[in-house]
Symmetry: C2
Subunit: 356 residues, 2 copies
């Protein structure tokens, strides 16, 4: 049976009418992979939900396919967002697929063109303003309030509707809801969406229990943990470097209602988990993604979890989005030797002694 | 029903014994996406098989999971390959997953560390030799012939066994074999594997017909088209920049037996198809991947295909493997304006007039 995309797969749980186009790039249907070595190490039944295998490389595709399909249904010909990262890639791809124009507004300071490569190749029009990100978002909101242009930043309510399908998939793949759902928290839309999804699936009789939601901010951007916005958030995990989460209340609510918590992890803990995932399980995620695993390791160290409890860590994006971080974080230089069998065998023995 | 990976899914078609570990990173099960606009434009029923959504971002995962599982079955503790690209990423990831060591040999000239980022983060040991790629492969063959180390370059026969599963999936997803299978040709292992897969699936009664196999080399590396090795192959499509394909005979045989052909496309045709895929269909593939679509466009221009015939284009790798190419190929610079609603609206109107 051919998979036909999220809107087709979970139609009855989504705001889909007869007029909604079933737009798709085959988003969703991402692997739930058991982390074999980490399960043993931590005494848990640990899985990762690898959202990096969505079409544009992050979980943003789930919400964007819904938002763009609704924009098409409403007759919009142009979508717009402020973003320098995963959101702009997803918006540009679905606009291309749906035949819409896409305008991406970015701040002109510190433009990393590499991060915009996807939006550009998908054909988005990129405009840089002489102002910061908050100002870019303000202008997007002003323009989309007046013009026939659809706002697709996270304030678009269809984004969370699409994103909640990840919770459905976790239940379908695991055969039940896990005991815990661990997730990175940046703008907090994703934890809000997962919690909505788990509750709806339970209400529909598709799962019999609810997970405890455990969300993890980066220490340098832990607005919710501190209880106040962070003016200059800083963390190596750029995808969650957000000082004033748009879905703050949603995150707090998910943690409270589920008996979970919002906690934080340091950059060192994030990078250690990032390397562990790749070198022990063969899974390459964005640094921000590793905040979920880093959080589970931290809570385990502090005495949480009973032996064998099931935990799903959400890995939000593909490591290929930011490969330079990988290189820098492991600081590996190839060993250079002469081109002979003997010299290479010497090098192999040497590397084995250094150990892994 | 949870997908359990290629070795589980196609067990009866693979060299799997009771002792073969069903190693998996959930490779395979990649989207077959209908190219809606290109179908209309070309008068075909056109699909892309998007192999970039494999765990390490390329089709190499299919062959590597089989090769590494067999290495484990045989009691090997170390695998080795010569590669600067997709093969090393796949080898390193499955070695990590299976708990093996992975040694990657590369030439010391022109090391692009970015391309090795994946192998390094997955924990492979990288050794650079003072010699070229051919010499690196020679040394790998010498060492693996004598030491208890498993060679996982394409001469490892299990690689093609794993890769043939992509043909099974195409048939399962489409409900039949397509009229044509279009595929980039570099080292020629993939076209060989697909053809083997289509024939085996037909023999097993799972499909009633066979596709015509149409393979496309890059003009600067068209050894098979010319009938002689190319000493200094050159093309923007680095993943098929190969002057002396290892599976040369397999490719010629696939084309001949199926009534297809091995043809070539220029770098300009490849980049045009690469941009078209992203900006019209929302699919971001490696430049080399676009050789399949470029070839179909070329053959159509020359009068091939009947109206409505089904064509599947294999897209071998994820565009995120080489985002700088994307930027360079579209030469886009953001338009910089002041931070006011009016200035941004002016910019939007200006971009609309430039057209898309």
């Amino acid at each position: 049976m051919r998979y036909m995309g999220l809107l087709h797969q979970y139609k009855s749980y989504l705001p889909i009418t007869e007029k909604t186009p079933l737009l798709t790039l085959h988003e969703g249907n991402t692997p739930l992979i058991r982390a074999e070595k980490l399960s043993e190490e931590l005494g848990l039944d640990l899985y990762v939900k690898y959202e990096g295998l969505n079409p544009t490389g992050s979980f943003k595709d789930r919400g964007m396919v819904m938002a763009v399909a609704k924009a098409m249904e409403e007759g919009s010909s142009t979508i717009m967002c402020a973003s320098t990262g995963n959101t702009s890639a997803a918006a540009a791809a679905y606009a291309a697929r749906g035949g819409l124009n896409c305008i991406v507004l970015i701040p002109n300071n510190n433009i990393a063109l590499g991060k915009l490569a996807q939006a550009i190749i998908y054909g988005a029009k990129v405009i840089a303003i002489e102002g910061n990100f908050d100002r870019a978002l303000e202008i997007v909101r002003e323009i989309t309030a007046k013009q026939p242009i659809t706002l697709v930043n996270s304030v678009n309510p269809y984004r969370i509707e699409g994103q909640k399908t990840a919770a459905f998939e976790v239940c379908d793949q695991l055969g039940k809801a896990p005991d815990y759902l661990a997730i990175p928290v940046g703008n907090a839309g994703n934890i809000t969406a997962y919690w909505k999804g788990f509750k709806e699936y339970q209400a529909a009789g598709k799962s019999s229990s609810l997970p405890q939601m455990i969300g993890f901010e980066a220490e340098g951007a832990m607005a919710i943990v501190k209880g106040e916005p962070i003016l200059n958030p800083e963390t190596v995990a750029t995808a969650i470097r957000i000082g004033n989460p748009a879905s703050w209340d949603g995150a707090v609510n998910a943690a409270n209602e589920s008996g979970g918590q919002i906690n934080y992890v340091t950059d060192d803990e994030i990078l250690a988990a990032y390397r562990k995932l790749a070198s022990q399980e063969g899974i390459f995620a964005e640094p921000a993604s590793a905040a979920s695993l880093a959080g589970v390791i931290k809570l385990k160290r502090e005495g949480h979890f009973r032996q064998g409890q099931s935990v799903v860590c959400v890995l939000t994006g593909n490591g290929l989005k930011d490969p330079h971080n990988a290189i820098q974080s492991v600081k590996a230089e190839p060993l250079v030797v002469e081109d002979s069998e003997a010299a290479v065998m010497d090098a192999i023995r040497q590397l084995e002694q250094v150990g892994s």
